[in-house]
């Protein structure tokens, strides 16, 4: 088991955003958490990477409980988080952004290799390697965010709403990339609002509603269920 989350609760002041959630991710899988805005998806991811404290519960990563560990140590342990809204560093060049992705590593030669690998994956980034990241389009920024996460050579990548604010054509490209990334051996935990797309590429999925998991199962099964559709478009 790569990641095993048990009875996780997250609260902001008096408001409980995640109300006891358990799920797991196996090595090599793509697992997706889908649900409406405010369902608690982002809070779960932020708890995993240590950005918000878990109120109760356990987050077991390769058997080690991550609760209470500072975010930079969680990154060193092998979890790379592509945050919601991408959060690329706008005043830094594309190359500097990628180098920051490899911050925890010291192997200069391998870093350079990995950068070439990212550039071969996203050719548009290569063209813009000396451009400030803030000048990239939304889709390119998302590529950069994923590329930056790859530079950490982690084993688990968690992606928060990679399709947000992207044109459909770009959304497709992003998802194609995710599939590519998985082929390279990465395990992926994906949070998405675009349920059809997410379930299409995932192995398994969990449906969240207001801080709880209401449905779970094989992604293809979930995709066929009316409940999922209902959660987005109404009955």
């Amino acid at each position: 088991m790569m990641l095993d989350v048990k009875d996780l609760r997250v609260a902001y002041g008096a408001i409980e955003a995640v109300k006891g959630v358990s799920f797991s991710v196996e090595k090599g899988e793509i697992v997706t958490l889908v649900g409406a805005n405010g369902a608690g998806k982002t809070s779960i991811l932020r708890a995993i990477s240590g950005l918000v404290p878990a109120k109760t519960g356990e987050i077991l990563y390769k058997g080690r409980n991550l609760v209470g560990i500072p975010p930079h140590d969680i990154v060193s342990a092998g979890i790379t988080h592509v945050p919601e809204g991408r959060l690329v560093f706008p005043n830094l060049t594309v190359e500097d952004n990628l180098l920051l992705g490899s911050y925890i590593r010291e192997d200069t030669a391998a870093i350079a290799e990995d950068m070439e690998r990212v550039f071969s994956l996203f050719s548009r980034l290569k063209e813009r390697r000396h451009q400030e990241a803030g000048t990239l389009s939304g889709g390119e920024q998302q590529m950069l965010a994923v590329g930056r996460a790859l530079m950490g050579r982690g084993t688990l990548m968690i992606l928060d709403e990679p399709s947000m604010g992207l044109a459909p054509i770009l959304v497709e490209e992003v998802f194609r990339t995710i599939v590519e990334v998985r082929k390279s051996g990465m395990t992926i935990l994906l949070v998405e609002q675009n349920a059809n797309m997410a379930l299409a590429i995932a192995d398994r999925g969990y449906v969240l509603e207001t801080g709880r998991i209401v449905l779970s199962g094989k992604a293809s099964d979930l995709a066929a269920m009316d409940e999922v559709r209902a959660a987005y478009l109404g009955r």
Partner: protein, 265 residues
Amino acid sequence: MTTPQETSRPILDVRNLSIAFGGLKAVTNFTLSLPEGELAGLIGPNGAGKTTVFNMLTGIYAPTEGEILFRGENLVGKPTHDYTIRGIARTFQNIRLFKNLSALDNIKIARHPRITYGLVPAFLRSRSVTETERQVEEECLVLLEKLNLLPFADTLATNLPYGIQRRLEIARALATSPKLLLLDEPAAGMNPQEVDTLADSITWIRKEFQVTILLIEHHMQLVMEICNRISVLNFGVTIAEGQSEDIKNDPKVIEAYLGKGGKVA
């Protein structure tokens, strides 16, 4: 009881509204005409520019082009508070209550433009001030009661449960005595039961307070259920407009929301 008439004069007439941020076009030629008493929905995926439209309709962002005719008057270029005083009120996507104030004080601030006593009486707290303040307190309490918020009157906004905060924000907007109410994702973060209640509340509010409502919402079920008409926005452009059934089956809308399902894998 008044029912919306298709023929009635539009309360809001938005023409070719466009805005760009540093060359990036966020909204292009947005046009909308709302008859008085209408309950309309504005939908679209994340980042489609819906909130930007609201920001322009409340004077927070100045549009690069276009007109906002509200009850016949073009409001473009006026400061935010003028929009409110003329009758446009709104809520925010990510709740912007005055966090360190009680629910009651939040409502009282919204009454601000309707309170007329002068600065000198305020300094001296003259009898007329005390009297007005007492009235304001009563009005606000009555409003809180109407929206079932009375028990929370003295609680600091920041300590209220999420759903109550959402409701309080609507109450606060109503306290400005609006003619047009803009609700930005009122159902965000609510569970199905809460959403059902919200749907009832919104229709009730429209009747009770005689307001026209424009609603941004992701929760399609809610929008389909209560809105007379719906506009769909994607990448700052209106891609569809009409009744809920038409919208539901419009392929462009489905694609905007769900993506081209299953084509990738």
